[in-house]
């Protein structure tokens, strides 16, 4: 018993020491500058962590803002799981001025708790330094401009430029042209398309959008009727034929991130249907230096298809709480962070698309700004396939099975989907 007591005491002393050490690390106080907002404190809940590239840029921007205006910004680094706790915090009236979240959730879920930014945005001429598609979407959901875009994302087909050059490929715009491109790649000894099962619904959703449009997909997912919809059956058949023709990389659909890594590891895989972050993800993880390009998912003209040329676009955005005591100060900080110098820093540090179209996209994100500016009706993630929470997981498994070749015809796939609605 004595030894145990001794051990417990020692451990507690160690803990106390650590506690003191942890508590004792104080922050260096910076000289308070005289400024427009001196005396103002802003509480910022960030979705990043302090050691991530994005987090470091946010911290630097905050410091610059403090020096310029005399305000004080308290940043709490919540990480990605902010989406679990922000709703509760807002309902409880937690002392927050600014928070970061997916713009879809800001516009739909938190709209009753965020500040209407329309007037402040107009005064700051925000339209000239942002992407219209995001502003319009969020205004559509919330009824007003509810958030400032911070990290835009765009989807499409990302490809290895060098492979395309070696194979003499021109960028396709229609599905038939695209199939021809795939064939040419196979003939030249390349593997056209990487696919990880995690993104199977993203790929199929895009294709459904080209056949029947996102709105119809959403309807089908919610209420069924797959077998009766010729376009949906045709879409599934397209995938079956695509696979049979041998256009999927060896082993696809594979477990994330194995297939996308093959692009960097083997240098033989040419394309992937994904969102823009895949480029730096593959380069960083595999240590390869792929020269990336992107093009919009090919269209299928009416009457066989929907003729849609929309691209997936999403954003992580910043919102100001409705009960914030200093909305204007917060807004000015947001402008500093998402435009000009700091936005460029963010884009370069994290290899992402700049929130300010006037900035320059890093080389790896070539072409993304233009695609975003050309997007008028952005598609949502998986283009409606996620619209029914009751069957979501089964839908995804069916789609992965489709890519695995488990269905003989498109009609079989549609039957399997309809079976979920009994």
């Amino acid at each position: 018993m004595n030894r145990k007591r001794l051990v417990v005491t020692v451990v507690l002393l160690m803990a106390a020491a650590c506690f003191a050490f942890a508590a004792g690390s104080s922050e260096t106080t910076t000289k308070k500058a005289e400024g427009v907002y001196s005396g103002v404190t802003l509480n910022f809940w960030s979705m990043w962590n302090s050691n991530e590239p994005q987090g470091q840029v946010v911290a630097a921007a905050a410091k610059a803002f403090e020096e310029k205006t005399g305000a004080k910004i308290n940043i709490e680094w919540k990480g990605r799981d902010i989406n679990k706790i922000i709703a509760t915090a807002l309902e409880a009236g937690e002392n927050i001025d600014v928070f970061e979240e997916d713009y879809r959730r800001i516009g739909n879920v938190y709209k009753n708790y965020v500040y209407d930014l329309t007037d402040m945005a107009k005064a700051a001429n925000y339209d000239a330094q942002s992407y219209a598609c995001f502003n319009e979407e969020i205004t559509k959901w919330a009824g007003f401009l509810a958030a400032i875009t911070e990290q835009p994302q765009v989807g499409g087909i990302f490809y290895n430029k060098e492979i395309f050059k070696n194979a003499g490929i021109t960028i396709p715009t229609t599905w038939d042209e695209f199939l021809a491109v795939n064939q040419k790649l196979v003939d030249k000894g390349y593997e056209p398309m990487a696919l990880d099962s995690a993104y199977a619904d993203f790929f199929f959703g895009y294709h459904l959008d080209r056949r029947i449009g996102q709105a119809v997909t959403t309807e089908l997912v919610k209420n069924g009727g797959w077998s009766k919809n010729a376009g949906a059956v045709a879409a599934a058949q397209d995938i079956i034929d695509y696979r049979k023709a041998g256009y999927l990389a060896a082993g696809a659909p594979d477990e994330f991130p194995s297939s996308q890594n093959k692009i960097g590891l083997t240098g033989k895989v040419a394309m992937i249907v994904c969102a823009n972050y895949v480029c730096s993800e593959v380069n960083n993880t595999t240590g390869a230096n792929i020269d990336w390009g992107m093009f919009n998912y090919p269209t299928i003209a009416a009457p066989a298809g929907s003729g849609s040329t929309n691209a997936y676009a999403g954003a992580n955005s910043l919102a100001i709480t409705k009960y914030s005591k200093n909305p204007q100060a917060a807004f000015d900080f947001l402008m500093l962070l998402t435009s000009g110098e700091y936005d460029q820093k963010m884009a370069n540090a994290a290899s992402q698309i700049p929130a300010d179209p006037r900035n320059v996209a890093p080389a790896i994100m070539n072409g993304t700004i233009e695609t975003l500016q050309a997007t008028s009706s952005p598609l949502s993630w998986s283009m409606g396939l996620n619209a029914n929470p009751d069957i979501k997981a089964n839908v995804k498994t069916n789609i992965i099975a489709l890519f695995e070749g488990k269905f003989a015809t498109g009609a079989d796939f549609a039957k399997a989907m309809d079976a979920l609605y009994k």
Partner: protein, 297 residues
């Protein structure tokens, strides 16, 4: 023993206080919420609208919830039998007088300590990988063709097996601490009477472990119903029917998911209540089956 009322109250009070402070309100709230239509899990009661058994109807009609429950049943039954049997066998082997007991014990328990994030990544990248994974390399060495371990057919079993491998050590430790409590004289007496090791295991160890077995089954059931992290690791980005479990379904329902911001806290509460009822039912059945009030040593 009747004068010990003060003792009983004194010893029990902190525990009861804990239940009141931390659990009473949330559990009661969850139960009530399951009968209402609510969007946010922490919404004020003024926003609730009565829905009767509607939430329960919804989840039991939901194919994804049904897949989740089916997965959970398989984890509980198949996983439970495998894990607890292996744990018991290892515990018995390790307490039978074998050498290097401490080393073996530590080695079997080790996977339980390492973060599930690292373990799951290791299983996916090292063991199950199609091209250079350990299993497929062994198969190819013997002339077979590689298997798609993480395809839609086998993913569930891959996930279950990875989980079992790490879980065995935990239950083994509990069995060991149960077996170690049995006084050695009982075994000595049995050996003198001519009982073989196997007979001793069946007639002495197993009956005396009834209480510990009951504990293990209860804990296993709780670990099964709260199975979460492994499911998320084997289906990154989004949930799949092959790996979905009730708590994952609950998370997606309560917090929304990728590309879908719909939330339904009432349905989430219903899921919570269903899971709790299952555990309580199992616990009561266990108590009936394993009556150990008469065992003392």
């Amino acid at each position: 023993m009747r004068n010990d009322k003060k003792l009983i109250i004194g010893f029990l009070t902190p525990c009861i206080l804990t239940l009141f402070i931390m659990y009473l309100y949330p559990v009661a709230r969850t139960l009530v919420m399951s009968f209402f239509r609510i969007e946010s899990v922490t919404a004020a009661t003024s926003t609730w609208s009565f829905y009767g058994l509607g939430n329960y109807a919804k989840i039991f009609h939901s194919p994804s919830f049904k897949s989740a429950m089916w997965n959970m049943v398989r984890i509980w039954l198949v996983g439970g039998i495998l894990t607890l049997s292996l744990a018991l066998i290892f515990a018995m082997i390790l307490t039978s007088g074998i050498r290097f007991k401490k080393f073996f014990r530590a080695a079997i328990y080790m996977p339980n300590i390492i973060s599930a994030v690292a373990l799951a990544t290791m299983w996916i990248q090292y063991v199950f990988n199609q091209d250079y994974g350990m299993l497929n390399q062994m198969i190819r060495f013997f002339g077979g063709t590689g298997v798609k371990w993480l395809g839609t057919d086998l993913k569930f079993w891959a996930m279950l097996f990875s989980f079992i491998f790490g879980a065995v050590g935990y239950y083994m430790l509990i069995f060991i601490s149960g077996i170690e409590k049995i006084p050695a004289d009982i075994y000595e007496a049995a050996t003198i009477d001519g009982a073989s090791k196997v007979q001793q295991a069946m007639k002495i160890t197993m009956p005396l472990l009834k209480g510990v077995t009951k504990t293990n089954i209860t804990f296993w059931s709780i670990h099964t119903t709260t199975f979460f992290l492994w499911s998320m690791m084997f289906s990154p980005v989004d949930t799949e029917a092959a790996t979905i479990v009730p708590v994952v379904y609950l998370y997606n329902t309560v917090f929304g998911s990728k590309g879908n911001s719909q939330r339904d806290a009432g349905a989430g509460a219903a899921v919570g209540v269903v899971l709790a009822l299952i555990i309580v039912a199992i616990y009561f059945v266990m108590n009936r089956l394993f009556k150990d009030d008469d065992v003392e040593y």
